[in-house]
């Protein structure tokens, strides 16, 4: 390969980096029927249990269609948080990517089909940290 072409390709590769950083909806991960498969599709490897991931959610949700979940990561350098409702037909609910101008925090209302653990997985410095919390549901959120 001639040097000019190599430089051009290198420049093109640099241009492509920011584009790739944009979160395109991950069809495979969101279509996965188990939490493990979904996380694997997101490229999330083994995660360590961490007390620095805080999940606030009701212990008992009367209406599974609207369950408020609040997640905070106190792990320094957290870049993303994935949210999984383990027993849902499609467990992956969301993945958020944070720049340095956003705190690794999110609050969102989710549907919980049946009593389930809600799990958050945070990525910081190429490592993964996780915590979970059980939500018991009296009326399911996916049919109604």
């Amino acid at each position: 390969m001639n040097p000019f072409r190599r430089k051009t390709l290198a420049a093109l590769a640099l241009l492509l980096v920011p584009l790739r950083a944009l979160a395109a909806w991950n069809k495979e991960a969101f279509g996965a029927k188990s939490a493990g498969e979904a996380l694997k599709s997101l490229g999330i490897g083994a995660s360590a249990d961490s007390k620095d991931i805080l999940i606030e959610a009701p212990q008992i949700a009367e209406n599974g269609a609207v369950v408020p979940v609040e997640i905070t990561s106190n792990v320094p350098g957290t870049r993303s948080i994935a949210v999984v409702v383990e027993k849902n037909p499609f467990p992956l609910v969301a993945k958020f990517d944070f720049s340095e101008s956003a705190l690794p925090f999110v609050k969102v209302n989710v549907k919980v089909g049946e009593s389930s653990f809600v799990r958050a997985i945070a990525e910081a410095g190429g490592k993964y940290y996780t915590a979970s919390r059980e939500v018991k549901v009296t009326i399911g959120g996916c049919g109604g």
């Binding site: 969101f30 369950v67 499609f90």
Partner: protein, 103 residues
């Protein structure tokens, strides 16, 4: 064109809280209408938050986010009057973008 989002911002000492309500049915594809027919899946897939034109947060979401999604985020270094722009894209290719100024 979908309804504009409702955005509320609160500037605090450590961060600015952004609360956004998106008007969207977030159909799971599992519900049936009164005639017993499945209602087609229809949900927001991607969203982004820009502060003064710079993307500060992006999300990918599933049909398991509740109808008319409400999110809260916390931004650092945002000042009163800064431009905030929130956008979403759903699985039918419908988009919405709402701009506001930080309160």
């Amino acid at each position: 064109m979908a309804d504009p989002m409702k955005i509320r911002t609160t500037v605090g000492a450590e961060y600015t809280e952004v609360r956004v309500l998106m008007v969207h049915p977030m159909e799971t594809g599992q519900r049936k209408d009164s005639g017993g027919n499945l209602i087609p899946i229809h949900f927001i897939q991607e969203m982004s938050v820009k502060l003064n034109g710079k993307t500060v947060l992006e999300g990918q979401i599933s049909q398991a986010v509740s109808r008319n999604p409400v999110f809260s985020f916390r931004l650092k270094g945002a000042k009163s009057g800064d431009k905030l722009e929130i956008a979403w894209l759903d699985n039918r290719g419908e988009r919405n973008r709402t701009e506001t100024a930080i309160a």
